[in-house]
């Protein structure tokens, strides 16, 4: 016998019939629905149910074609498992019906009138085409299906880029190519994003972070735009319906149920382009909401297991969305771990960014745990061993853990303090020189004992102003969101440069351009992991809306007219490209260890030195708005890679300053790479030497990058 003709199995036969279907007892693991010889094994957990049925539908049918009660002897512990033979997988939708007590005070909310979606469903139909009007009376709106899982990956391997070398690009699958200007064959889809990979390569980023792609319902937002009456959506998708299923409405082939293949094809092509994929995942709450929310899956299977409940059986609401997933319950830990392993093993994704991650270290009663078992488990899991783990280290109930999120040497954090310090410094706030210095050095105050990759640095993200709006609006303008402008953050640290909104004034426009460049320059030369918001490189605007979670329109979509053609914002785009290229060419900016201010390699220069208007004399006083620093190239990658010396200076003052430059080793002179008051950066390696070797005139609201190298040609 060869492997090619596998022996028939003795358990490949049914043992009985239920309602006309041939069945036998199934294996409890894995959970969910999986093909086995001759049939499909369905396995579902419920601790408190008194009985369970498998509900079968033909694809799209209003009524079930059959219901198969699990016989008591098909139950192992609290797991119901049954193999059903002779099913047409492609034409099948399945769910469960659980009977049990409805006793909210005791935590039980069973409802046998509902068909429940499988928490482990790997394919879900019901919202197959984005925004398409569904049958609101459907007895089973989010229908579990079984995907083909034999995608041909070829020899795909994850790029395996060290975290500190990443340049992350945060984007939205639909928003990236939905705009009519995108020119792709399937706008707003995984396939559309795949067609834009050449743009990402030219930009120079090596990691895309995708806003949620787990199945959600874009139609679960009841609001309308008060000005136009247009429907508002759940556009961002932070409201998961099904954690193992890729969003069908993001697939051009979703109506054929081929979203899994389409998403895998995207990941495979990104990897081929040397770009990693990080998924924004939302484990803090589910789409079931509070007591008034829909019963989709968890609530009807085992409410008290999956959700944090008060002693009276009400939902804790640490997420601000109605419920809180009970992440440190052993069963739920298993669920989260299985889910993440699945996305890594099956979809080859390279990392995760955890929305409101502070919730993941709360105990079932909501208390923050000093050693949360879920986080420890994720940090040490064999499958996730090389996966990037990034925490949004706060939650909606006041737990703020930036700098002290339980990390086990593995977790990185969105560094909200970097964002605030850069914004405030660049807009001209006083008293921030010291903090900016700390942030640019990788925030060693927050991440002592960890590497600089602990800090994911960003100035803008999906949540808040875009970079263009940060320099164009003093206040948020969220009227279109239908909440009277009350939603969205108020502490934006933004400055409109003299006029609220779009401006024709050339001085205002020039200042805004410089301010955007200043922030990009700081972001891309700071130690830590930079993250860019998609579209900031071309000055994308949301017209002052800083909370576009519900806006599926031009407000949110990437306007490709800003990236190419006669209306392109070429100056900003080329400047951003140059800064990314500079970062990638200079490992001295990407060391894992924090700089110490001492000479650790015998170069004669400290790894980092601080300067002000006078070399070697930084001014930390509260009225100062100038910071300069020098990085010694011999310390690059903690002394393991060759590099040049780099000098950075930022002037947030409204007046120009003549800066005295630090001395270089004999034979080296300073060369100008980029000055944000000039239109373009100089080509890497062909930077001109400064006219005056020891001084640089830095204009108001400007920043500069110099490179120290031998005077002759390189």
């Amino acid at each position: 016998m060869t492997v090619e003709d596998l022996r028939e199995r003795v358990d490949g036969y049914p043992t009985r019939r239920i309602n006309g279907y041939r069945v036998r007892a199934g294996r409890p693991f894995p959970y969910g629905a999986h093909p086995v010889p001759g049939g499909i094994t369905f396995s579902v957990y419920s601790d408190r149910a008194t009985s369970m049925s498998l509900v079968l539908f033909e694809r799209g049918a209003k009524r079930p074609v059959a219901e198969l009660p699990f016989p008591p002897e098909f139950r192992v512990g609290s797991v119901y498992a049954m193999t059903v033979f002779g099913l047409d997988v492609e034409n099948l939708e399945y769910g469960f019906r659980a009977e049990g007590p409805f006793d909210p005070a005791a935590g039980d909310r069973f409802d046998a009138a509902k068909v429940l979606s499988d928490p482990y469903a790997r394919l879900v139909s019901g919202r197959d085409v984005w925004g398409a009007e569904p049958d609101w009376d459907d007895v089973y709106p989010y229908r579990a299906r079984i995907p083909d899982d034999d995608f041909d990956w070829g020899d795909d391997t994850p790029p395996g880029i060290p975290t500190e070398d990443l340049v992350i690009y945060e984007t939205h699958v639909r928003g990236f190519t939905r705009h009519p200007s995108s020119g792709v064959s399937a706008p707003g889809t995984y396939a559309g994003l795949r067609e834009k990979i050449p743009y990402l390569r030219r930009l120079g980023v090596n990691c895309v972070e995708l806003l949620p792609v787990f199945e959600f319902d874009e139609l679960d937002n009841p609001r309308t735009d008060p000005r136009t009456g247009d429907r508002l959506y759940n556009y961002w998708g932070y409201n998961t319906v099904s954690f193992f299923a890729p969003k069908a409405g993001y697939a051009a082939t979703g109506r054929f149920g081929m979203q899994a293949d389409e998403f895998k094809s995207l990941v495979k092509e990104l990897h081929r382009a040397g770009i990693e994929v990080v998924l924004d995942v939302v484990f803090n709450h589910t789409a079931e909401g509070n007591e008034q929310g829909p019963t989709i899956s968890f609530r009807g299977l085992d409410n008290a297991t999956y959700y944090m409940l008060t002693p009276r059986g009400e939902y804790y609401n640490f997420s601000g969305t109605g419920n809180t997933v009970n992440c440190n319950h052993p069963v739920v830990r298993d669920f989260v771990l299985s889910c993440l392993r699945y996305w890594v093993a099956e979809y080859h994704v390279d990392g995760f960014r955890f929305d409101l991650a502070a919730i993941l270290d709360r105990a079932p009663d909501g208390t923050p745990l000093p050693n949360p078992p879920l986080l420890e488990q994720l940090a040490h899991d064999p499958v996730l061993r090389h996966t990037k783990l990034i925490a949004e280290a706060w939650d909606a109930a006041g737990l703020y853990q930036v700098g002290h999120f339980p990390n086990y040497g593995r977790w990185s954090e969105w560094n909200g303090k970097f964002r605030d310090a850069v914004r405030r410094f660049v807009k001209g706030d006083a008293g921030l020189v010291g903090e900016l210095a700390t942030r640019m050095a990788g925030s060693p105050d927050l991440y002592q004992g960890r590497t600089s990759s602990a800090s994911v640095n960003f100035v803008t993200a999906h949540d808040g102003f875009t970079l263009n709006d940060l320099v164009s609006y003093n206040d948020k303008h969220n009227e279109a969101n239908g909440e009277g402008g009350a939603d969205g953050a108020d502490d934006n640290h933004s400055w409109n440069c003299g006029e609220e909104g779009p401006s024709a004034d050339p001085h205002v426009r020039a200042l805004r351009m410089r301010q955007m460049k200043n922030m990009l320059l700081i972001l891309l030369t700071s130690q830590g992991v930079p993250m860019l918001l998609a579209g900031d490189e071309v000055g994308r605007t949301q017209l002052g809306n800083n909370n576009t979670y519900c806006q599926d329109n031009e407000l949110s979509w990437f306007d490709w007219g800003l990236a190419e053609g006669p209306t392109a914002n070429t100056e900003l785009l080329e400047f951003t490209r140059a800064l990314i290229a500079f970062r990638r060419a200079h490992p001295v900016l990407r060391s894992a260890g924090h700089p110490t201010g001492s000479d650790r390699v015998g170069s004669g220069l400290p790894d980092i030195s601080w300067h002000g208007v006078r070399a070697g004399a930084p001014d930390w006083s509260s009225h100062c708005r100038v910071l300069a620093l020098m990085r010694c190239g011999r310390h690059a990658k903690d002394g393991t890679e060759p590099d040049e010396n780099v000098y950075l200076a930022v002037n947030a003052h409204w007046e120009a300053h003549d800066l005295e430059l630090p001395r270089l080793p004999a034979g080296e002179v300073w060369h100008l790479f980029a000055d944000t008051s000039q239109a373009a950066a100089h080509p890497l390696g062909a930077e001109p030497a400064l006219e005056h070797p020891g001084r640089y005139h830095l204009g108001p609201h400007s920043a500069v990058i110099l490179v120290g190298r031998s005077a002759g040609p390189r």
Binding site: E90, F151, D152, T253, M258, S265, K268
Partner: protein, 113 residues
């Protein structure tokens, strides 16, 4: 719904024309019918111009046929993909695996050459 298969020799090439829908109901039988053509002398052209829809299972059947052909160093070319079939194959990455020609005459000419 069925899928109908007819075959004919055109010079050194064997043209296998399919008609109907290739889905989970029809793909199993289709695979059994297609595999005998693989490994014969010459080249196999699968003419899909009569196919309105290929499902996930159908695409997998075609890819299995293609993989079998590769194992015996035979060549399979897909011809006459409708716009929709081509779109689905492109979006899901399946198109990358196959040799595809728009026009049967072109394919035959190349097979002859």
């Amino acid at each position: 719904m069925t899928v109908k298969l007819t075959s004919r020799m055109e010079g050194a090439a064997c043209v296998v024309a399919l008609e109907g829908e290739v889905n989970s109901t029809t793909s199993g039988g289709l695979q059994a019918q297609l595999l005998p053509f693989i490994g014969q002398e010459g080249r196999v052209l699968i003419d899909l111009s009569g196919v309105s829809y290929i499902s996930s299972a159908g695409l997998r059947t075609l890819l299995i046929v293609h993989r079998r052909a590769q194992q015996v160093r035979a060549r399979v070319t897909l011809v006459g993909l409708s716009e929709e079939v081509r779109f689905v194959m492109s979006a899901t990455g399946f198109l990358d695996f196959f040799e595809v020609t728009d026009d049967l005459d072109d394919a035959l000419e190349r097979a002859g050459g």
